[in-house]
Every structure is written in structure tokens, then in C-alpha cells.
């Protein structure tokens, strides 16, 4: 039975950064990922990474922008850590080999991004996530002796001992179908968000809330789950992401009257207001009949104002996306976009070292909620979040491992998981298809738990989710094999997604105010007296239970939020 000091689930930026940090601290490390590490969804992060590295900038300014962006729901102690450690982390990435683009003096170039009071986003064209992910993977290959890699292994359960401590995982080698216990002194969840709960979404097909649900199932509370970010610029055609970097480089948003409507909603920051503000503005324009396209369902993003050479050099990926997926040359004509599900601010509740309430279990990146994003994440803060808290979790877990023995072996959960998988494969074709349930879930969430919400819609969504949970118990699949049985993994992922969806809906019903990404048309005002607090969701018996935790305020008192 393989055993490791630190076992990391997920090999995106948070996971790989955690692995390198833990190995550096001397721990024996393994990283498990259901896809090859470079396929992780961090690869899709386009625009860049925020850090106050300009000598004229100050991490406190970055922290304030983040607090304001979060609509004062972010925990300021964690935000201070993230923003003050950011410059050093970006330099560390540069030293490791990330090919950050330079200015004419050969220093890191910085671009403008939403909600930021100055240019502080370091970038590699519009493939920043890919560039960092691939460079981290270069480091994993370099340090292969210290870091074992389980590539294309799917985690089915987190293991707990009698005292409730996390002691490893049960995982399935996707390629052979073999199930195994991977023992560990510490487990770090770094397996991303839950975007596939929505349809459409900018998120990859693999982003199915695995880690959020696994932690929730063994009793870890989730936090801020109602805060679901809609990105202002996703392709009307199929929901693919158009980076905020486009607006950072000067692109504008236009309605059907050719009006730069952001003047009405955010006269100072215009298109570079925070994402919740811009997405709501777009949605309002669309709902009031000023959308573009055959059914008025979109908004124009006009990138033609950016010099063509600059677009080709710095926004090449979206030039290709425009050409390939919408048939539009974005350097010559506007492209039709609309708000689309993009990110989940909530996740497994952790402290600033990534520790969850379960001993031996850590979480970092989108799967976690520290909470540095609160009600709304600023663009280019997600990469930073993954790296800072991935590193901290890795270091902390390694230190903890140094002072403890390897847990005892136990096969009970393994046998249970094997039986569960066999049972799914054996289900008769009498229920619904897994794919059908997933589709209904995604459409329901996108209809009722989106940019604008109200009690009636949320209640409807809640009912649908509860029904789908029941239906999923008997949902059938086609693949009966063991080698690369993606079908059976899809059925397990559906269970994860439904747990995430339920906690999102329950939290959204609970918060009867409007803050950040949660906008309740029946409670349109922010209400600091009652709601300046986090909503925690824990599993109680079979259902979610709500509790609250305070927002940590250090130096920035809540104030009216205007852009």
C-alpha cells in the first residue's frame, strides 16, 4: 500500500505548487490527478496574475481593491497574506522559468484588469495559466525523485480514522480500473471548482466539484457557496471564455444602440469595474431589450480599438477563439458575448494555511474558501490564490507530517467503493441516463441561480436538485468495462455535482440580501447589519445544515461600493 507524508489531489496550479512546496520542505510527496496534470483547468486561465510589483504600487492597495471587489465579504487577514506575499511569489515563478512578457526595459510588463486601481497584472500573452502550469510541470519532472505522480487516477473517497482525522484516499487508476488505498499523513485537496454544475459554463468538463463534495461528505463545512461568479465576456455561441485581458487592453462593451452602456453603471471604471458589476450591467441591458444578436441575447465586445499588432501579440488565443468558434475576426469586428458561469468563490472552508476543520485535510485553490474572494473575485486573483495558498498548504502539511507516524492500513472504505462502482455498472436501464440528469441540472442552475435570483426561482431550483439527487441513485451508464471507463466516473462526478448544487442553492436561499455575485431581486440592497457574515454549509445526516461565521475585518470597514 503506497504511503506518503503529503498526498495532493489535483494537479492544477494549487496542487503542483503545493507539491513543490511540500517536497522542498523535505516531505515525501505524491500528486494524484484524474487527468494528466497539464490538462488541468488552470490551463484555461488567460489574463494574468495580480501582484503589486510596480515600485509605485503597494500591496495594501491590491488588498483594498480585493476587499472592495469581494463586496466586503472577504476575510481581510487572508487577503493581507495573499496580497503581501504576491510579489515574492511572482518573482519565484519568474525564476522557475515562467516566460512573463516584458516591457521595453526588460522588466515584467503589467496590464490593466478589472477592479484594480492600477496596472498590476503580470502575464504571458493570454495564456498565463497555461504558461505557469506547464512551467510547474517542468519542475515536477525535474523533481520526479521527490514527487510521485499518479496521473489519470480518480479519487473516490477521503479516508478518515476513528478520531476523524483524514488518513489518505481511495483512488482508481483510470487506465487499468484498479482501485487502491493511498495512505497519507496529510491530504491536500486542490482539485478545482464545480463549474459543470452550470450549463453553459466557461469551465472544463472535468470541473465537477469532486473535492468540495468529498470534503463535505466527511463533515468539512463549505463556505460562501452562494457566491458564483458570472464572467462578463463569454461567447454567446458556446459559453467559451473571452479573457478580461481584452478589456484590460482597451476593448469596450456596446449595446444594440451602439452605446457604451457601462457609463451608466460604473462611470469611473467603465468596462473595468468588478465582474459582478459588469455582468449585472450586461444582463440588465439584455433584459431591457438592448441586447444584440438575433434574439437580443448578447452584447458586443469591441476589440477593434486595440491596435491590431498588440491584439495579435497579447490576445492571440482569443483571436483564435473568435475565428474558430464564432467565425469572427476580433481585430476587425466586434464579437457577441454575454455573462456566463465562470468561478465559484465558495468552497471547503479553510484557515490561512489551507487547513480545513478536519485534521489532516487541507484545501487550496478554487476547491477552497479561505475566503479571499468573498462575494466576488477580481480577475487575475485566482491564479494568485492557487499559488499562495497552495504553497502555504504544502509547507504546513509537510511540517505537520514531520512530527507524526504513518497511519495504519484499513481496507473497509476500499471495499465499499469497489462495491459502489460495481453497483453503478450493474444498474438496469430503467432509470434516466446520467447525461440527461447532468444536462437538466446545468440548465436549472443557469436559469434560477444566475446573475439575478429570487426566492421563487431558488425554491424551484431546490426542488429540481432534490429530485435529481433521487434520480441519480438509479441513473444508468453504458460502459461495463474496467479500462478507461469514463462513463462510471461520470456517474460518480454527477453525485459530486449534485452535492455542490444543493449547497449553492441552500446558501443562496439563506442570504436574503444582495452582495457581490449574489443579487436577489427581492432583496436588492446590501444589508451589513444582518449579512456581514459567511454562510457555512455542513452535512447533517442526509441534508445540508446552515450556520454562520464572522467576516474577519482588519483595516477596511465596509463602505458603499462604487466603480
Amino acid at each position: 500500500m503506497p504511503s506518503h507524508d503529503v498526498l495532493i489531489i489535483g494537479a492544477g496550479l494549487a496542487g503542483q505548487r503545493a507539491a513543490l512546496a511540500a517536497a522542498q520542505a523535505g516531505a515525501s510527496v505524491a500528486i494524484v490527478s484524474k487527468v494528466h496534470p497539464v490538462r488541468s483547468h488552470s490551463v484555461a486561465a488567460a489574463g494574468g496574475i495580480n501582484a503589486a510589483i510596480n515600485v509605485a504600487d503597494d500591496w495594501k492597495s491590491h488588498a483594498y481593491d480585493t476587499v472592495k471587489g469581494s463586496d466586503f465579504l472577504g476575510d481581510q487577514d487572508a487577503i493581507e497574506i495573499m496580497c503581501s506575499e504576491a510579489p515574492k511569489e511572482v518573482m519565484h515563478l519568474e525564476h522557475m522559468g515562467v516566460t512573463f512578457h516584458r516591457n521595453d526595459d526588460g522588466e515584467l510588463d503589467l496590464r490593466a484588469f478589472g477592479g484594480a486601481s492600477m496596472k498590476r497584472t503580470a502575464y504571458v500573452a493570454d495564456i498565463t495559466g497555461q504558461a505557469i502550469l506547464h512551467v510547474l510541470y517542468e519542475q515536477l519532472m525535474k523533481h520526479h525523485e521527490q514527487i510521485d505522480r499518479y496521473e489519470e487516477w480518480f479519487v473516490t473517497s477521503l479516508l478518515q480514522d476513528d478520531s476523524g482525522c483524514c488518513r489518505g484516499v481511495v483512488a482508481r487508476d483510470v487506465r487499468s480500473g484498479r482501485m487502491e488505498v493511498l495512505k497519507a499523513k496529510n491530504v491536500i485537496l486542490a482539485c478545482g471548482g464545480a463549474g459543470q454544475v452550470y450549463s453553459p459554463t466557461t469551465n472544463a468538463l472535468i470541473v465537477t466539484g469532486d473535492g468540495i463534495a468529498q470534503a463535505y461528505r466527511i463533515g468539512a463545512p463549505l463556505m460562501d457557496m452562494e457566491m458564483v461568479q458570472y464572467h462578463p465576456t463569454t461567447l454567446v455561441e458556446n459559453g467559451l471564455l473571452i479573457t478580461e485581458g481584452a478589456r484590460g487592453e482597451g476593448a469596450t462593451l456596446l449595446n444594440s444602440e451602439g452605446e457604451r452602456f457601462m457609463e451608466k453603471y460604473a462611470p469611473n471604471k467603465m468596462e473595468l469595474a468588478s465582474r459582478d458589476v459588469v455582468s449585472r450591467a450586461e444582463q440588465t441591458e439584455i433584459l431591457e431589450g438592448r441586447g444584440v444578436g438575433a434574439h437580443g441575447e448578447g452584447i458586443y465586445l469591441d476589440i477593434t480599438k486595440v491596435p491590431r499588432k498588440r491584439t495579435l501579440e497579447a490576445l492571440r488565443e482569443i483571436v483564435n477563439i473568435g475565428k474558430d468558434f464564432a467565425g469572427v475576426d476580433i481585430t476587425r469586428e466586434p464579437i457577441m458575448i454575454r455573462p456566463g458561469q465562470h468561478y465559484i468563490m465558495g468552497g471547503v472552508k479553510t484557515d490561512v494555511n489551507g487547513a480545513t476543520s478536519i485534521e489532516g485535510l487541507y484545501a487550496a485553490g478554487e476547491v477552497a474558501c479561505v475566503s479571499v474572494h468573498g462575494g466576488n473575485r477580481l480577475g487575475a486573483n485566482s491564479l494568485l490564490d492557487t499559488l499562495i495558498f497552495g504553497r502555504r498548504a504544502g509547507e504546513h502539511a509537510a511540517a505537520r507530517a514531520a512530527s507524526m507516524g504513518m497511519p495504519a492500513s484499513d481496507d473497509t472504505q476500499l471495499r465499499e467503493d469497489v462495491a459502489t462502482i460495481d453497483a453503478i455498472i450493474a444498474r438496469p436501464r430503467t432509470g434516466r441516463r446520467v447525461s440527461e440528469i447532468k444536462q437538466e441540472l446545468g440548465e436549472t442552475m443557469n436559469q434560477y441561480v444566475a446573475v439575478y435570483r429570487d426566492q421563487e426561482g431558488l425554491d424551484k431550483a431546490h426542488e429540481v436538485v432534490k429530485r435529481l439527487k433521487e434520480e441519480s441513485e438509479s441513473a444508468y451508464i453504458d460502459d461495463k468495462g474496467t479500462v478507461f471507463n469514463q462513463d462510471v466516473l461520470g456517474a460518480i462526478e454527477l453525485g459530486y455535482m449534485l452535492d455542490c448544487a444543493e449547497s449553492i442553492v441552500v446558501a443562496a436561499i439563506e442570504r436574503t440580501e444582495s452582495r457581490g455575485a449574489q443579487f436577489r431581486t427581492d432583496f436588492p440592497e446590501r444589508n451589513d447589519d444582518e449579512w456581514l457574515k459567511h454562510i457555512d454549509i455542513s452535512l447533517n445526516g442526509n441534508g445540508p445544515q446552515v450556520s454562520y461565521s464572522p467576516v474577519k475585518i482588519t483595516q477596511w470597514q465596509p463602505e458603499e461600493r462604487k466603480y
Partner: protein, 375 residues
């Protein structure tokens, strides 16, 4: 403006299936899906998976040509399933049915899923795929020329999908060839001014008989790449830096062979096959054939030459005396040499930067090979 919504149409997909547990040979499996014509082949496959048969195996994730999971062959050509439109795929099919198969040059695990570890990733590991910069690090970033980072972004943009590996003809003949993707990755370090072992890397890749000189210039990888990484172009840049700038004369004679080709065409206007080996091995001039090394090589390649004549790939006369072209044509060829050779510095075409072919001249970036060594 954005293309207006087109109504869904029916598309038939013919997928190559293989179940390693069945003990049976691969077979074809057809499904008809309904989607708008500009949707991707991947969306077609996902619909077939969702509606008809969940056991269809294909790796996929981002749907946006960035994660590199869904490399396949569509109507025989390698590419990403998410990056190929259904209508275009149908138009390029032989009978109106879109054929999807696993990539080539890699063992198939199941259906359209291949073993990339056994081939692609092994080769990537061969090129020491990390930045070598062990000295004390600066407090802030390394200061490097602006153009250098834009330049290596073209190879950084590689998503490791394996499409180029799938169709590499040199690798088909010589599976040991390091290959287009891994060599493009090597350029990412050789072109990075922060790397401290550029020369060591170049010596290594030149001396390896399956290294940079094993590429046969077939352009297949350039066509296959969905991200315009231009792997062959990167291999040629490695050669130019290794040979012309670093003067690395490899034992495989790769560099001398290359120089000979250039000189022969300059002298004769066309390749002179009979002179090629003597000059490559004996020295890049007419006297090369009198060098002992040339004689030995000539003898050992006689069987190849004879087979070429027998199969009428080359006539005896041309094999011995070479081609000749009219004088004015030869002058025109030599004019090209004069133009290129008189440039003060070498132009390194970088498609990532220039974007569109038609605008090459305005955005070309000249990147000197030794420019900005680690600072």
C-alpha cells in the same frame, strides 16, 4: 458581425473503436448526431456519448483548444476534435461521413485514447525540460529583452496534444527520433536568455543521431499543429543556432550535410546528389570527394544509390553528372542567396508574433541567437 445562427443539421460520425478487454480487433462504429454546422467534432462525439453510447472513449476537457486532451485523427488528418468544425470535417471526408480515429505513432489504449506517456512524454523528458538556472537568483525578475519572451511564447503555446507526434514521418520510420513536440520544447529553453546551458543543450541535440538532424523537413507537424507552434520551424531554428552561431559540427554530419546542400544549390541551382556525400563528409568543396572519410561513406551508400537507379528514382546520368539548369535561372537562384546573405541580421519568422501571413513584413521580429544571454 458574428455569423447568424444556422439551424442544426445531421452529421454522421464513424469512430474507430477498440476495447482492449474484449479480445477483439478494432472496428468502426457509426452514430448520427444533430448539431449546428459550426459546432465541433468533439461536441458531436459528446452528443453521441450522451445519447447513444457512453462507452465511447475519448479524452477531453476544456472544449476550447487549450488543454490538449482531444488529439485525434479526423478523416486521416491529426488535430483536436474540439477545434474542428463539423461542416468542415464533413466537407473533407471521403463519403460524407466524418471519420475519427486515435492518433498515430502512439499505442492505442481504448477507442480514441492513446498512450501518450509511452511516446510523447518520454520524449519530452529526453530534452531536459526545465530551465537550467542554478546560480543565485536576482532579488526581482531577470532583465531580458522584450522580444525574447514574446519569441519563446510560440513554443510555450504548445499544449502537448501530440497532433504533431501523430503524423511525424521521421518518427514513423525511426521511433527513436526525439520528434517535433519535444524539440519545440527544447527551443523554449534554447531561446530563453535565462537558460545557462544553451550550448550544452545544442551539443546534446546535435550529437544525438535521433536529434535535430533526424527531422526530414516534411512539414507534417507544421500542418498538424492546432496552435501554430510550428515545430519544424523550431527545429530549424535550433539547427541554425547550433550550426551557424555555435559552430557545432556534430558527429552525425548533420550540420555539414546542411551546409553542403546550401552550397550545392548555390553552385548548381539544384541539388547535385553525387556531390552530396563527398562534400558532406570530405569538406564542403569540389575536392571533398578525395577525402578518405568521403570515400568510405560513398562506398557504404553505394547500395542505396544502386537501388535508386534500379527503381528509376534517379537516372545514372543525373546520379553522376548532376542536374543543370539554364544560366539565367542559375543567376536568379544566386540572386536569392545574395539577398539573404547580405542582410545584417537573420530574420527569424515567428508566426505567434506576426499572427497572419499577409502581415508578416510589418511584425517580423528579428531575434539574434546570442542576444541577451542570461543576465
Amino acid at each position: 458581425m458574428a455569423e447568424t445562427h444556422r439551424p442544426p443539421e445531421e452529421f454522421t460520425l464513424r469512430m474507430r473503436r477498440y476495447d482492449p478487454e474484449s479480445g477483439e480487433a478494432p472496428y468502426w462504429d457509426e452514430h448520427t448526431v444533430e448539431l449546428e454546422p459550426h459546432r465541433s467534432v468533439l461536441e458531436g462525439i459528446l452528443q453521441a456519448k450522451a445519447k447513444f453510447d457512453g462507452s465511447i472513449g475519448i479524452r477531453c476537457s476544456c472544449r476550447a483548444a487549450i488543454c490538449g486532451s482531444c488529439g485525434v485523427r479526423i478523416n486521416g488528418e491529426p488535430g483536436l476534435a474540439c477545434h474542428t468544425h463539423l461542416d468542415k470535417a464533413r466537407a473533407s471526408s471521403k463519403d460524407g461521413v466524418i471519420e475519427v480515429e486515435p492518433m498515430g505513432n502512439m499505442p492505442v489504449i481504448k477507442d480514441m485514447i492513446v498512450d501518450m506517456d509511452a511516446v510523447h512524454w518520454k520524449k519530452v523528458q529526453r530534452v531536459t525540460p526545465w530551465l537550467i538556472n542554478e546560480g543565485p537568483q536576482p532579488e526581482r525578475e531577470h532583465i531580458v529583452p522584450r522580444e525574447s519572451m514574446v519569441d519563446v511564447t510560440q513554443t510555450m503555446a504548445c499544449i502537448q496534444c501530440g497532433a504533431c507526434v501523430s503524423d511525424c514521418l521521421a518518427m514513423e520510420v525511426d521511433p527513436g527520433f526525439i520528434g517535433p513536440a519535444a524539440l519545440a520544447k527544447a527551443y523554449r529553453f534554447v531561446g530563453d536568455p535565462r537558460d545557462e546551458e544553451q550550448r550544452e543543450r545544442l551539443v546534446d541535440l546535435s550529437e544525438d543521431p535521433q536529434g535535430i538532424y533526424d527531422c526530414t523537413h516534411c512539414f507534417k507537424c507544421v500542418e498538424a499543429c492546432p496552435k501554430d507552434v510550428n515545430p519544424m520551424g523550431q527545429i530549424m531554428r535550433l539547427r541554425r543556432i547550433a550550426g551557424a552561431d555555435q559552430h557545432i559540427n556534430d558527429q552525425n554530419n548533420g550540420h555539414r550535410h546542411e551546409e553542403t546542400v546550401v552550397t550545392l544549390i548555390k553552385d548548381y541551382g539544384l541539388l547535385h546528389e553525387a556531390e552530396m556525400i563527398p562534400r558532406s563528409y570530405g569538406g564542403n568543396s569540389w575536392f571533398g570527394k578525395f577525402h578518405p572519410a568521403a570515400g568510405k561513406e560513398l562506398l557504404s551508400s553505394l547500395p542505396v544509390a544502386i537501388r535508386g537507379v534500379m527503381k528509376r528514382k534517379v537516372s545514372l546520368k543525373i546520379a553522376i553528372f548532376g542536374h543543370s539548369i539554364p544560366k539565367q535561372d542559375l543567376k536568379a537562384v544566386q540572386k536569392i542567396y545574395e539577398t539573404v546573405e547580405s542582410r545584417p541580421e537573420r530574420y527569424e519568422l515567428n508566426l505567434y508574433v506576426s499572427g497572419e501571413d499577409e502581415e508578416v513584413e510589418q511584425t517580423q521580429v528579428a531575434v539574434g541567437a546570442e542576444e541577451g544571454s542570461a543576465q
